[in-house]
Amino acid sequence: MKMDITFGQYVEGNSILHRLDPRAKLIIAILYVVAIFLANNVCSFALIVASAVLITVLSGISPRIIGRGIRPVLILIVFTAVINIFFVRGDHPLVSFYFIHIYREGLVNAAFIIIRIVVLIVCTSLFLTYTTTPIALTDGLEQLLAPLAKIKVPVHEFSMMMTIALRFIPTLIEETEKIMNAQKARGADFSSGGLIKRARALIPVLIPLFISAFRRASDLATAMECRCYTGGKGRTRMNVLRAGVKDFVFLFGVVALGAGVVLLNKFAGGYRFGLY
């Protein structure tokens, strides 16, 4: 009960991003990623950064939370940046010291790559995780993929499975905690000893957990059947998704962004991103 609100990265809010249709957000996120990868010079990168700032402001989510989301990939960012700085060869050498050669092109590439990764993570998570609950996302995905049902892909079933799995994650976490506490009360020790001892110590937790998960699954199946659930066919929805004006405005916005990036790539000058 207490944890399903804090589960995942969803940040409670009522910004325009929160209120967008999840289907629109999925499409926008995909198009946005394409736009990011199209950008290849200073001007188009500047446009991407400006749009990322705009989206952040519109989401109303604090930069602190967003910063926390980048932390896990920091190593990846540093690593690619370093590779670019030391291994890219160009026409404008800056430092030449024994075997270390740093070119201007390398620095520029590193900067572009950093921007690319950061914007990619920030914007996809702003659209898909910070402002959309996992359930809404699954719902959106199901409806976007609905046409695949025609070629016998069990879209509804997959989405139902996803929804149920997501719904029960907090329950399982809570239950794990309860069982661990009960075993601790009998003197179980989860925090000392080597790897093998610790793994063995988890047996008294995992077995009851699995048993209760299976019991829960079978109870849920019974409850669904009692309410005449027979799969997706002919089933109507309680929360019907309706795309509104704002969804189309955002879709148009991201298409315009892509077009802007392409035009700037072609006609604006400045440093270029490229493989040397």
Partner: protein, 280 residues
């Protein structure tokens, strides 16, 4: 001497987050050796939190917990030993069963204590007889048992650690009257023979009135009543106001009093019967 002592306890779940819950507020409590203490209170009043503070599953946000005279958080590394002294049977303990046989499950606690095989065996046998787990169940899988049997196996698993104070969080919740009698009967026998201190959380006012030396009433994280059963149950209106109950016989006595037959404070059926027969 006090087996359990709480001093200035406050407990806050999820402190400094939007989901903060102040579950216990300024609790001071002393439980004497050999005493049987009952805790009653509405759901969410903090009973389970209190229980988990005593054996160090939860660490107080503020205040100190003493078990058997020593501050349990003085050496956090040794917290495991506290759990052998203060044996807690959690709410719905049947979910903690995991071993292949009932015997192995009951032996889990004693094994963690590092006892010898011999000692473990004799403890398991003793504990299962107190908890009314019949010997022919010993080699069965705990998952094949009925709800009441599972509950008794879980209870035996804690009794087998031979704790100085046995703490039970709603041990009979959700069982039928027969199952409740089995559990409670076993507990009483165990307590009589061992003289162990017992702290029991329960919703059954009858059981509490019959067995406890002392009753605590928890409401909204505070102890609001504390005393002998007759003292606590004489606060009829307060308890009803809190959404709690009093023993049915106390209700009967109150109804009789309104009709002009005053039996005094009555909270067990036996006492009421004596009082009524005096009238004739």
């Amino acid at each position: 001497m006090a087996v359990v002592e709480l001093r200035g306890i406050n407990y806050i779940y999820n402190k400094n987050t939007p989901y903060e819950v102040h579950a216990l507020k300024d609790i001071d409590l002393e439980v004497k050796e050999g005493e049987i203490t009952g805790i009653i209170g509405h759901t969410g009043s903090g009973k389970s939190t209190l229980v988990q503070l005593i054996n160090g599953i939860l660490k107080p946000t503020e205040g100190q917990v003493f078990v058997d005279g020593s501050d349990i958080w003085k050496e956090p590394k040794k917290i495991r030993e506290v759990r052998f002294k203060a044996g807690v049977v959690m709410q719905y303990p049947e979910y903690q069963l995991f071993a292949e046989t009932v015997f192995d499950d009951i032996a889990f606690g004693p094994k963690n204590m590092g006892l010898s095989e011999e000692e473990i065996k004799s403890r398991v046998i003793a504990a299962s007889s107190f908890a009314n787990v019949s010997p022919d169940l010993m080699n069965r899988s705990p998952f094949d048992l009925s709800g009441g049997q599972k509950r008794r196996v879980a209870l035996a698993g804690v009794i087998a650690m031979d704790p100085k104070v046995l703490i039970l969080d709603e041990p009979a919740a959700g069982l039928d009257p027969g199952g409740r009698a089995d559990i409670l009967g076993g507990l009483k026998k165990y307590q009589r023979e061992k003289g162990t201190s017992v702290i029991i959380v329960s919703h059954s006012m009858e059981d509490m009135a019959n067995w406890c030396d002392r009753i605590l009433v928890l409401a909204d994280g505070k102890i609001i009543l504390d005393g002998t059963p007759d003292k606590v149950f004489s606060r009829f209106n307060d308890l009803i106001g809190l959404g709690l109950d009093v023993p049915q016989i106390t209700r009967v006595a109150a109804a009789l009093a309104r009709r002009g037959v005053d039996l005094g404070d009555v909270y067990t059926v036996g006492y009421a019967a004596d009082k009524i027969s005096e009238l004739f």
